[in-house]
């Protein structure tokens, strides 16, 4: 009995080329989606302190996908996103890379205890992640430029990242259930 049930579970459509492409694109969606929202934050909206958007959305996206679909957000891709964050965000080279990898490391550690909990607790944990990321950025930029930089921008960065998290969670959650789900291919 048990054997036949397992055999039934394993029945899958034939892996045609179209289907394999579908699966591959669903796997690639988190990284490319992150890339696209990173580029969008740089568009000329002319908002006050628009520069703070880029690190905020990048940290949120890496955190979200590392929790939700770690297989589709592999560390080397996070490394490349970090390099892009450094270049586009005018951070000293390596700072964005380290921040994003640290965020991912934290997400991979916390994925199991956080998975069954609700959104509010997830957000509460993210407050600490965002604070840590902004503070670490501030410390590293200060160290690498050999001067004490005002901490105001780092605090603003924290608040913005925490506030944007629920806003971005809606489209990211929808993508997680639909276009980024390889099992639906």
């Amino acid at each position: 009995m048990a054997l036949s049930a397992r055999a039934q579970n394993n029945i899958q459509p034939r892996p045609t080329l179209g289907r394999r492409l579908d699966i591959a694109s669903r796997h690639a969606m988190p990284v490319f989606g992150t890339l696209i929202i990173m580029l969008l934050t740089q568009a000329p909206f002319r908002l006050a302190s628009q520069a703070a958007l880029l690190p905020a959305v990048t940290v949120i996206a890496v955190w979200f996908w590392s929790l939700a679909r770690p297989a589709s957000m592999p560390p080397p891709a996070v490394f490349m996103l970090g390099v892009l964050l450094d270049l586009m965000g005018y951070l000293p080279l390596g700072v964005g890379v380290l921040i994003l990898l640290a965020v991912q490391g934290a997400a991979l550690r916390l994925a199991r205890p956080l998975a069954p909990r609700g959104f509010l607790l997830g957000w509460f944990v993210f407050v600490w992640i965002a604070t840590g990321a902004a503070m670490l950025t501030w410390v590293l930029v200060s160290l690498l430029t050999f001067r004490l930089i005002a901490a105001g921008p780092a605090m603003f960065q924290t608040v913005l990242t925490v506030a944007l998290f629920p806003v971005l969670s809606i489209p990211l959650g929808a993508a997680h259930r639909t276009i980024a789900a390889p099992e639906q291919a």
């Binding site: 740089q42 568009a43 000329p44 002319r46 520069a51 490391g105």
Partner: protein, 287 residues
């Protein structure tokens, strides 16, 4: 492909993150060792991205115009009255300026004054912020053969905005006078005393190193000084404002918060001091 046991593959997967974290420290060292590398990569990235931003600028500008247009309709009446007042005041100033200008011309003529050479300039659109969270800079979109050089002086319609620090094929980066790395020789207009304008990343740069016996006066106009041959003299920079702590700061004349169009002047000034951010390190044994 090499076939590994499941244990070996799991161990490798667990190692990726720590190895990459070590690599990020390596990247930091590399960035410190070769400052130009990061700058060149940034110019490349912005050269690739600027056409997209130029495309987006038009519809986004239109949308913003519509939003502000609705707001403007509300305050039309008050705005009209204010403008009429201001116009009257400006007309009085215009007549004074014209009289002074002609007097100045007459005096210069009698002194055999050598006129300053006219500067060539290029007008460019600001397409993106180029400073990130910890710097203040603007990215200009340019056509091919734009002729802008490093050290070009950028002004908006009101006053000095900054200086060109990096030039790509389609973009140029302008370091604003509010940036932490910005140092500008200035003159206080009333006392003619020299000082240095030092950026703090805040909205108002600080005034430092003025001579003894002179105090910057609240509301005094600040203009560039030709000292160090980095700027032509007398470009408008801003006005002195004392902050709550009694430190003289300068309210920039240029609207640095919402730059849209900048004019980049080439005054053909000689030895431009390179901003510290992009200074090349001397390599030992190559002098």
């Amino acid at each position: 492909m090499i076939r590994l046991s499941i244990q070996a593959r799991q161990a490798l997967a667990r190692l990726t993150l720590p190895v990459l974290i070590v690599a990020s420290f390596g990247l930091m060292l590399l960035g410190k060792a070769d400052v130009l590398l990061a700058d060149r990569a940034r110019v490349m990235v912005s050269d690739v991205l600027s056409p997209i931003y130029v495309l987006l600028a038009e519809p986004l500008g239109a949308a913003r115009g519509m939003v502000t247009g609705v707001g403007d309709l509300w305050s039309l009446h008050a705005e009209n009255a204010r403008l009429r007042d201001e116009n009257e005041r400006l007309r009085r100033w215009q007549s004074i300026a014209l009289a002074l200008d002609s007097e100045n011309e007459r005096l210069k003529a009698s002194l055999r004054w050598i006129p300053d050479p006219d500067a060539s300039f290029v007008t460019a659109r600001v397409v993106a912020d180029a400073g990130g969270v910890y710097a203040r800079a603007a990215l200009l979109a340019l056509g091919p053969n734009h002729g802008i050089r490093k050290g070009g002086i950028a002004l908006d319609e009101r006053g000095l905005a900054g200086r060109v620090t990096e030039v790509g094929t389609r973009t140029a980066r302008v370091l604003l006078i509010t940036d932490l790395n910005s140092r500008i020789p200035v003159t206080m207009e009333d006392s003619r005393a020299r000082a240095i304008l030092v950026g703090t990343n805040g909205p108002r740069p600080r005034l430092l190193y003025w001579p003894e016996g002179v105090m910057p006066r609240e509301g005094e106009r600040i203009v560039t000084s030709a000292e160090a041959n980095a700027f032509p003299a007398n470009l408008p920079v801003g006005m002195v404002r004392y902050n709550a702590g009694g430190v003289p700061e300068v309210e920039p004349e240029a609207l640095l918060g919402r730059l849209e169009i900048l004019r980049v002047f080439d005054y053909g000034l000689g030895s431009l001091p390179v901003p510290p951010e992009t200074r090349e390190r001397p390599t030992p044994g190559q002098h």
